[in-house]
Symmetry: none
Subunit: 412 residues, 2 copies
Amino acid sequence: MRCEVVAVGTELLLGQIVDTNSAFIGEQLALAGIDCLFQAKVGDNPDRIRSAIASALERADAVVVCGGLGPTQDDITRDMIAEVMGVPLDRDPDLEDRIRAMFGSRGRDMPANNLRQADVPRGAAIMDQMPGTAPGLVCPVGDKVIYAVPGVPWEMQQMVEGTVIPDLRRRAGDTAVIRSRVIRTWGQSESGIAEQLAPYHEELEASGHCTLAFLASGIDGLKVRLTAKAATADEADDLLAREVEVVAGILGPSVFTVHDQSMEQVVLELCRRQGLTLGTAESMTGGLIAARLTAVPGASDVFRGAVVSYASEVKYDVLGVPRGPVVSEEAATAMAEGACRVLGCDVAVAVTGVAGPEPQEGQKPGTVWLGTCVDGEAGALLVRLPGDRERVRQFATISVLDLLRRQLVARG
Amino acid sequence: MRCEVVAVGTELLLGQIVDTNSAFIGEQLALAGIDCLFQAKVGDNPDRIRSAIASALERADAVVVCGGLGPTQDDITRDMIAEVMGVPLDRDPDLEDRIRAMFGSRGRDMPANNLRQADVPRGAAIMDQMPGTAPGLVCPVGDKVIYAVPGVPWEMQQMVEGTVIPDLRRRAGDTAVIRSRVIRTWGQSESGIAEQLAPYHEELEASGHCTLAFLASGIDGLKVRLTAKAATADEADDLLAREVEVVAGILGPSVFTVHDQSMEQVVLELCRRQGLTLGTAESMTGGLIAARLTAVPGASDVFRGAVVSYASEVKYDVLGVPRGPVVSEEAATAMAEGACRVLGCDVAVAVTGVAGPEPQEGQKPGTVWLGTCVDGEAGALLVRLPGDRERVRQFATISVLDLLRRQLVARG
């Protein structure tokens, strides 16, 4: 089974948007064991969209066309797919109602343009997932198929995972089940992890029933993905459960989850299990830590809040940091204590440092103090983080959460 | 003059790496006034690399092949270009010395493999820029040309800027320049903007000297991009300046920038110009607003900090919100006032609402109160936002900043 990807949008060719969608789709296809040998980017031009889809369909059994499903005049993917299929566009009444309803629920009038999104190539099916106003389409062409998904990443992703991949595997007659487990680590380099796992990795390759891949994922940690293919889901899951245990055993404390959870989820769960409420005091991270914690549904039973003390006066006046240098062990420690006091929480993390681009208090960008307060015991750790302003802020966020995680694991 | 891009690497198709190189090259071509109508990604496979290059060369006058120039066995771009050219590979002695020297200077022995990087298709020229061990190649094919550049971004970029673009422009004998300007808006749907601009859009298309495109960019706002092609940069810029003014005039107050700035940058600049310090009080957004504001370098001269009052008690105890329902006009207003008082800032925004997935205080997810406090005057606005938990948080963030922006514009 071969599937190609055609990304539509002049802004992609002009480099105004980086095409991350094709990478996502390519990864999903690979995980499902479907070959993706070719991907193309084409602008909002009828002839070129048509020919890109047509020649992709010649080479492959299926094509995912991503983008150009919006309501504006330059969104012509629908029309070009209909031409490749050699069928007219029909306006779908249910779709029309759905789109009208969606606008109604937002208390906005619907511009007539949007009804173009209710036009469907005759014979095509509409995907169940429809988070936006752009419907995803399954368009059969003989024994081949074209999938149309919007360019909006979170809409595209729901449709690819919910409809495209299952439909492709059904067509492939692939009854084998592919399952993956992701172990996430923090605190070691990719090459360090790879070295630790090298002997095991060779055995695994030899055994041939499981594959292993490393994915450096920035603030999401360094991921180790185990993938197994088996006759049944249970079989694959059992296989993975065994291997995950082995890998976690080899890697030790730098593993923060064997269930592909984020560092925030892990920390919130540890607090929940130990009956602790959590707060943050943030200078350089400017609210990033709190924002990531509260991105987790249900965080409210653990997370109390945050004091973002960006200005020194806020550190002194609100958090009770002693006047003086704010990129210091004293400041980080006092911030963590202050967070527990002001927010009335049991546990707190604090970050103060230099995000850059300019030095501060004579210290280089990347100089960061990580503070924690657990059971009234406050302390701080100095780290030097690489990268530009945003990376330093991101790495500080996951690093301080990892510091608290290790303390809570030791405590529990 | 038409130039296509072929990105080589199985890891690109598998989604293990996002292809940012093609976007960079596409942008450079556009700025140089060279049309790039098609871009492709292909794996490390001889037949497919060869056919991808060949068919690109059929459609276009030039092809930039990016990647597959390394020293390993699966780096076969050199070999495939030689086949397309119909010439053998010759080992270049100067190149061999350069590669040996480079290893010498790093005090490392050179793996024999690396000498493959000294193999050059007969008739090809070596690019002057050579930051790594992979040489860039200029490979004439009749009156057309293939450029080979490495996949390492900073190596590729030096060669594209230093050799590829100048050589293409020389060949084009065309000094036309393409320039773009991006206007960002908030508060209207993409189709609403499209309808407002429809008559103007038709005129513009007719005039043929400028094109217009819409880019729904989530939290970055809805972008309207104007692109002009002209003989000189100044001419294009003048053209764009005029059209940008027209578009901004038609769209009115929903335009928050004509210089492609983020909403945060715009709000920070308005505060700076009016000599105001800024703070936030956040419940549902959980620090997102503060995090985005502090992502802007130099925010510290305006932004004081934030109180993330996720738990109701923090709203009551720290911000002085009257006890009672917290998804309410009263709460949002009191939060904005409280932020100014606690953080000692002149201006504040506040957000309280239901991010979901669960309802709260009997209200549906997406129900959000946006609060502001300007010159001691506090107030709140009810909005209903679409999407999942994260979208609601993101939309609430830009919506409340847009609300403050409109108030500051009216004030200034």
